[in-house]
Symmetry: none
Subunit: 205 residues, 4 copies
DNA sequence: CAATAAACGAGACGGTACGTCCCGTCTTCAG
DNA sequence: CTGAAGACGGGACGTACCGTCTCGTTTATTG
């Protein structure tokens, strides 16, 4: 994970001057994550983060555009590594392996509400929206596309299938339930949903 | 559409004193809609609505719980009637008839961003979330369920299919694209998406 | 004393809407005066005034342009009535009566440092400077001019004397000592100084 | 003019290590003077001086206690030499020679506002106040006292006159007009004012 | 001629106050 | 008794300087 602002335009940190404080950087993200997890996105204020982290507001605004940027980095920092997509030998196995673990992350950890808060914020913050797509969505959609690519190679899925639309079919309903909350987002839903998607994807032969 | 608050606790309007101003009620909703459509949810402030509508803030808060309630009613007021779901004789026809018109509404009118703003707000406002589900989602999901019911009756769809999950499969990707914006939400997407869902729903026989 | 900002442009308070809170108005000025007297001008912050007065910052900024305006009104509120200028029958008597009491006010009360702080602030705040001249200086200089007018009428002072310059001769050295602090501003100084000025003013016949 | 801080505690500059940069010292004072003259005391920030002078803030704070010290040295650097007090043979002549040139300096050069800013700052900075008295006021008051001493020697002024009070009578009104701005500080005022003071000082015989 | 020591530029840091904005509530008067 | 007007307390926002603190980089003097 890289910070939202770089010391220099080309992305390489400046070698001159006092180096960025790693302590401050870590403290900000830890506190932000903690607030997000315990009190939710609405309770995340820059003043609170600064106070709890023992950091000045100026330092926060030096490195992040606004509180949304802090929130996103805090969330990504806590989540990112877990994009596992093992090859189980079948489309259904691959899908369940990946999607059920995403659902578990969204519901059994505090990251689900945090991500929802981020997506909410993104509705009125184009910069955050773009960053979210680039740094969160992209890797996950790519992973899903790879999984689908394997299924195409195996002959399970018709090669003419639009994989972007397929990825939407897989993840759309998951985020739909996360954000709208009309029905529980649980394993049972995940399995039923994936069965339906699988049928759709493999029915083309 | 009924206002969020009733005049008295028992739901019956008071008979004494000055009657409520219909002018104020309409003006508030019109101005709110106008702001939502031209400047977006973030620019919708209660002060602005009150000033432009020539209405006092107290009046707004007398009728609505908070600005989110005003926003929701304004949006619903502008959208609601259009839940058409004609019987075209086939699942695919019914789905396209309904979903493509929803997509058109979300993208060619200013209601899409307004709804997205509302959903965003709902992430930190449980009351709004519940009201949104009850007053916006419910009717649309019911309409979709009816359409699916007809397909079951026709024998196109297996009776054991979980229709709630099917509705998620239909609408989830649409709102996913609306809220995340990673890909265009257009007719082309709608048709491809619905073809996939149709295959999934009809593959069970 | 009138507030720095009026409810309406013509100076008359608006009759519509919630009236200005007298409690808030008084609390702000009392707290400001208290801080000025105990901790000095530099310690006077809008946040501190708001917090101690139980008033929101918005309320302060609604009625005063900036903290300088609050400070000035607080100081004037505490000082103003005391512009006594009794007719003692002689120029020297009149001068001592007025100037020695001004010196006493400037040195034995906390108003001296407060006024010095105000004059300091006025160096970089033209609005405050103008208000200070209008609401503090003017009345005092007018009182001094009247006193000199009586001396002219009595024949003690030559009628051709420029009274504005005479007022400067009287008060200039007092504020000079107040602001520069190179020598004590005390009664002894006042008497010696006034004797010199008197000689100058009465030497013209 | 000597800098506010010395290299070592005993006042002797260290002989080891890199010597102080004369370039930096000059650049700081030049930039400070320039800002004072063009934008005023309020616009004088240490960051701005450092940036424009191509000097680090640390260097500024190594040589001066705070920005007030920089400002004072910059002002003194620009003004100091001109304390001329020629013997014209009469009190009035000497006074006009000295005071009118001071008034000219205060009004036709940018030093007047700069000095006013310094005096303002001194109200909340005792160190600056003391330094200002020692390094600016003292020499000028001494020069005035010498001028008065000659008048006493000549028999124009009574020997019992308190010369400190006389100096206040001479310069008090000048700084009073500079700082309060209620009336123009011009040559006309200077001549009228000095005539009055002269009358007072020579009326005692 | 290296080693050493101090001053240098750059610029990040904690801190504090600023003035603005919006929320949801409260208080008056007019109809 | 409602409604417009508009002031209120609260609290977050993002900005601006302050004076301090690292860094890596000169630049003289010392050994």
């Amino acid at each position: 994970v890289t910070p939202a602002k770089q010391a220099t335009a080309d992305g390489a940190p400046s070698k001159r001057g006092r180096p960025r404080s790693v302590r401050a950087w870590k403290a900000v993200l830890e506190v932000a994550e903690e607030i997000l997890e315990t009190e939710g996105y609405a309770a995340l204020t820059v003043d609170a983060v600064a106070a709890r982290a023992g950091v000045s507001k100026a330092t926060i605004y030096r490195w992040w555009d606004d509180k949304a940027a802090v929130a996103m980095e805090a969330v990504l920092n806590a989540i990112e590594p877990e994009i596992a997509a093992p090859d189980t030998g079948s489309l259904k196995g691959d899908l369940e392996s990946q999607v059920l673990s995403v659902i578990e992350m969204l519901t059994t950890t505090p990251h689900g509400p945090a991500l929802a808060g981020l997506i909410a914020e993104a509705q009125s913050n184009p910069t955050l929206a773009e960053a979210f797509r680039e740094r969160f969505l992209k890797v996950r959609r790519t992973a899903a596309r790879e999984l689908l690519g394997r299924a195409v190679a195996r002959g399970e899925v018709d090669p003419s299938t639009d994989l972007e639309v397929a990825v939407d079919a897989i993840y759309g309903p998951v985020y739909y339930r996360l954000l709208l909350g009309h029905r529980p987002l649980d394993e049972r839903f995940g399995r039923t949903h994936l069965a339906l998607v699988c049928d759709g994807l493999t029915a083309r032969d």
